[in-house]
């Protein structure tokens, strides 16, 4: 049988990959993909633990909530990225140093 530790290890690897992307990438869209990877690692942990809660289904229901939250996050983040591109003509997070005024 597949143990919980296996799922947790896969989740940890995905989380660290996402963190590497967030820290190192020079493109906001790739940073966003890194955030999605970290969210997915968290959802994997929720689902793996949710297996031991048949009556209340806490893990699975909150995994669904987390997926919906990820959708909301992505929509707002992409709107912000498009605005930043319109203003600065670049989406490199290192280049964006100025406030509006």
């Amino acid at each position: 049988m597949i143990t919980l530790t296996d799922f947790l290890l896969v989740g940890a690897l995905l989380f660290c990959t996402g963190m590497y992307m967030i820290v190192s990438k020079r493109n906001s869209i790739q940073v966003l993909i890194g955030i999605e990877l970290m969210l997915n690692a968290a959802i994997l942990n929720l689902v793996a633990f949710g297996k031991y809660d048949k009556l209340n289904n806490g893990g699975q229901v909150f995994a669904l909530f987390a997926i919906v939250l990820a959708a909301a996050t992505t929509a707002v983040a992409l709107a912000i990225i498009l605005n930043v591109y319109r203003r600065y003509k670049t989406i490199d997070p290192d280049e964006i140093k100025n406030l509006r005024d």
């Binding site: 290890l9 896969v10 590497y20 869209i29 699975q60 669904l64 909530f65 990225i81 591109y85």
Partner: protein, 182 residues
């Protein structure tokens, strides 16, 4: 039993390998499309964890919604996004990436250490759940139970998240409107 284990290894290998490729690739489009593969492999992992409804939701929302949204943003932001990638290729080992690698590897070491020490399979509440047969088995169907729970036990977070989603969509539409109109 062994087939499930084999499938688990295949799925997790695909998920991790494609995530690493998405992280290391210098090409944004390739990075986005390989992220599709990661999400599908993760949906497979959810099925192996006996959460089939979450797996289907993952495919519908992530693959059908979020990735298409990311592709739209990529196409709307034009050629400049590709130029960022052009002038950083060349060196095989980029010195600017070394701190990020060190951070990620050290964090991974900490997490793995904690996971191995926590010994999640022998936690008291998990043993109790197995003893009380509160464990999802491959033959049990969970979707009707999820529906009932969503409308009873988790009604308040469900409503809260619906309001939040509405706010996020209105906010996104407001943010992405043309400048100067309002």
């Amino acid at each position: 039993m062994t087939l499930v284990r084999l499938l688990f290894y295949v799925m997790s290998f695909i998920a991790i390998a494609s995530a690493l490729y998405a992280a290391l690739s210098k090409n944004l489009v390739r990075s986005i499309f390989i992220f599709f593969v990661t999400l599908f492999a993760l949906a497979g992992l959810y099925v192996i964890a006996l959460a089939d409804f979450v797996a289907v939701t993952q495919v519908v929302i992530y693959v059908g919604g979020i990735l298409v949204l990311i592709l739209f943003a990529f196409m709307l932001s034009g050629r400049e996004t590709l130029n960022v990638i052009q002038h950083q290729k060349g060196k095989f080992i980029n010195m600017a990436k070394v701190p990020a690698v060190i951070l990620a590897v050290l964090f991974l070491a900490v997490i793995v250490n904690i996971i191995l020490k926590a010994d999640a399979d022998n936690l008291p509440w998990i043993k109790q759940a197995i003893a009380q047969q509160n464990e999802i088995t491959p033959t049990s169907s969970t979707i009707d139970n999820i529906g009932v729970n969503l409308m009873t036990t988790y009604l308040l977070p469900f409503e809260a998240i619906s309001v939040l989603l509405l706010m996020a969509l209105v906010g996104a539409a407001h943010l992405s409107r043309k400048e100067g109109g309002a």
